[in-house]
Symmetry: C2
Subunit: 360 residues, 2 copies
């Protein structure tokens, strides 16, 4: 089994190293036969090669069973204000696009030990357990035409296109309905159909897929502004949320925050199952590159470690081992071993060691 | 002074009636010489005329000193799934567009008596005082081309265009900087410049306006996903936030919720000052038409009443009277007079009477 580790920028390499250590421990004990490979991505890669990801790394990512990703970017590269399609400005975006990782899963489920860290009241957050399924390969991130140009009115315009084809909506709808069916059977689809044509097609298509294929799943529709509000008002009402690339980006960061522990949240970006049954996937913590604490050994590795758990489930077919990792993380937290972002005094390596020890 | 009252749908007419009663009281005492006019808008207008707003009403809105708006829409008209430009599907959107009400101000400032209603911890919400300045006349709401069509790939596509011209960004930047200069001198501009070309032009233009005209205002930039998170993490960090039409829609509903009292939040939509110094404006509560409680006398009138306060400031040049209204609302709340959405037992008319009495 090939796992390609792309640490990236800032604290990325520190947290992927922690996740890799957890996977290596499980590998030794359970004979997973993982071969780890490593490559540069993001600003680190740009500085070395002039590209945010190289063609060679793209090839290796396509051949791998799973990609473990750290984080990308930082003020140094932001300030270049590069223009052009996002695939050319971000290794992560190129990976998502070229590997066709259209289904981004972001579970929002706070650990009990973390409840007091939320800015929301504990009684609002306790028991929250939902997953955002964000479309990741289309929408305004990739639509054409886009650019900054002087138009026929003589004025400079900046413009972007949001475009969804029917099959693009169908495949993300199937992914979300199938997930909801395996959980509490409730799906909330989020759009802005009162203003956007793509939202109208989104709503119609999701409704049709549900009626034809998933009659046992209850489907609701929310406008995105209302959804942003409901997530804060009563996050327990949600089971699975499906939405487009841009709205998913916004809502998932907002939702992440309600758990009070952005540093702990994992994500998976999945493609369609291949003929051999394997499903291409990229696994990464939701947090960013946090340049302010990079290299200090203070980064919270739990988002990356829990992403490795998603990798075990979706990339290596071992949900049993994923369960072990999640329990071990819970135990480390219950013992009070955590990094400063969670109010603790432990460093990255201590937290990682505590999780590995709790694996038993 | 002409004030056009457009109650609209659901609880809209109930809450504008309350706001009108407050304005009439002030008119009698302070000789404001307001002439109130009324017309249909929204679903109510659609049922009567086949249009969400008539040309005649548009003419009267343009001639008025201010428009007091209730709310628009409901499941009955949503379910028609009308397509076409939003101006044809919404009276409110046509008003915003044709009156060129490009600057939407949404103050987020919880009353002390309401702190316990937030799902956020009181210590996070106490002292929050910021204003979202949302661009309201452009962006993905109006960009062309848009539609649902079979394209050359043989597939059905839904597509929309986000388009901002440089002057459109300049005028909203001026409005936001001028406001920040009159407050705590901090402006946060929100975009998605790492993905969207319009975001790049937005960021550049806002930066340039600030450097040239408002050196005393501190300017920060946030990506919209991060902004959604920061608003929940630490809402006190903000003074004025400026953003585009779509992001403003999403962030302002999310922000509204942190105060725990959506029913109390007012808004103003302002155009450029006219030659005679008057500034066209539409004033409306942030809440929607709440069809479930319409006609029951239970609607919270405070969002509309506080919108009337914004009308006094921006439409009638009487910030002193606006201050009276805000104090009166605070006093009614301190006395525990409020509607069920705030945990009270009073109806719309009792709350309105309490505010009028507290006017002194
Ligand atoms: C870095 C950026 C392009 C990216 C996105 O917007 O998709 C990030 O915010 C994310 O959610 O992974
Ligand atoms: C009703 C809808 C078109 C409107 C918008 O999206 O602008 C509403 O959400 C608002 O914010 O006033």
């Amino acid at each position: 089994k090939h796992v390609l580790v792309l640490g990236g920028d800032g604290i990325g390499p520190e947290v992927t190293a922690a996740a890799e250590a957890v996977l290596r421990t499980l590998d030794e004990r359970h004979g997973l036969a993982i071969a780890f490979e490593h490559a540069l991505v993001g600003g680190a890669c740009f500085d070395a090669t002039g590209q945010f990801i190289t063609d060679d790394t793209m090839r290796r990512a396509k051949a791998a069973d799973a990609v473990l990703f750290g984080s990308e970017g930082g003020p140094k590269w932001d300030s270049l204000e590069l223009t052009g399609p996002p695939e050319a400005r971000s290794g992560l975006t190129r990976l998502r696009r070229e590997l066709e990782l259209f289904a981004n899963l972001r579970p929002i489920r706070p650990f009990d030990a973390m409840l007091s860290h939320s800015t929301l009241k504990p009684e609002v957050v306790k028991g929250v357990d939902f997953i955002i399924v964000r479309e990741l390969c289309s929408g305004i991130y990739f639509g054409e035409p886009r650019g900054i140009e002087r138009k026929s009115d003589g004025l400079l315009h900046g413009f972007d296109t949001q475009d969804y084809s029917e099959p693009e909506i169908e495949r993300i709808a199937h992914a979300a309905f199938a997930l909801a069916r395996s959980r509490r059977k409730k799906l909330t689809s989020v759009d802005k159909a009162n203003v956007m044509e793509s939202g109208i097609l989104w709503r119609r298509t999701v409704t049709r897929i549900g009626e034809r294929h998933y009659p046992e799943v209850r489907l609701d529709h929310l406008y995105v502004d209302n959804a942003a509000m409901q997530i804060i008002r009563d996050p327990r009402q949600f089971d699975v949320i499906v939405t487009d690339n841009l709205f998913g980006d916004i809502l998932s960061d907002g939702s992440a925050m309600i758990t009070g522990s952005l540093g702990m949240l994992p994500s998976a970006a999945l493609g369609a199952p291949r003929e051999d049954g394997r499903r291409p996937g990229l696994y990464e913590p939701v947090h960013g590159s946090a340049p302010d604490i990079a290299g200090k050994g203070l980064a919270n590795p739990l988002g990356a470690i829990l992403s490795a758990a998603l990798l075990l489930t979706h990339g290596l077919g071992r949900p049993d081992l994923a369960g072990l990792v999640e329990k071990a993380v819970g135990r480390a937290l219950d013992d009070g071993v955590c990094t400063p972002d969670l109010g603790g005094r432990a460093g990255t390596s201590q937290v990682t060691a505590a999780v590995i020890e709790a694996l038993g």
